[in-house]
């Protein structure tokens, strides 16, 4: 059976690291806001379960695109940030944003800006 993630295809290899919706949104947050705590992701990604968020962060960490850094020791507190390899994904996010701005309509009327 052919390998759906053909090791010869760089698109498939990339998706092996970042190929899920939540992973893209985690990366979007890090690109937009810089280092983020676990709870920050929970706030911005509302519907994600803690287990799923942990799993996605782990995959991104294992793939070398984000790193986990302790910024306090008593009590231990960690934040996540993009590595240089992760920062190199900005063109992917930019391309997704550009396409969405042009081709993916807003799904609901927004409330009046205040």
């Amino acid at each position: 059976m052919p390998d759906p993630l053909d090791p010869r295809c760089p698109v498939a290899r990339t998706l092996d690291i970042i190929g899920e919706r939540w992973s893209f949104l985690i990366l979007r947050d890090l690109v937009l806001h810089g280092p983020r705590k676990f709870s920050d992701f929970q706030t911005s990604l509302g519907a994600i379960s803690p287990n799923t968020l942990s799993a996605r962060l782990k995959t991104l960490e294992d793939g070398g695109v984000i790193e986990r850094r302790l910024y306090d020791e008593h009590p231990p507190r960690a934040e996540y940030l993009l590595t240089p390899k992760g920062a190199a994904l900005r063109p992917v996010l930019r391309a997704l944003r550009a396409w969405g701005e042009q081709h993916a309509p807003r799904r609901a009327p927004t409330r009046a800006a205040s």
Copy 2:
């Protein structure tokens, strides 16, 4: 609870249509090979189940990025192709490929080219 697919964020709106690994790989095939039949996707995406493939094609069709076209009537045979809106996703695929070529190593030694 915040909407994880914030309608105001074009990245999230784009991922609502193409935000799964299989969807990206379907689009990759269409960009690389042009119109494809259901069975062509099954061959190239080996591990995908028919139900999942149907569901992804449906989502992409509903999102207006691919269309299904009958190319024969006796018996009826259909193929899938990119719409102009789908073709506009090429920069996303290009960005994924470029990143993969530079940052996502091949996962297994390839057999000697014959």
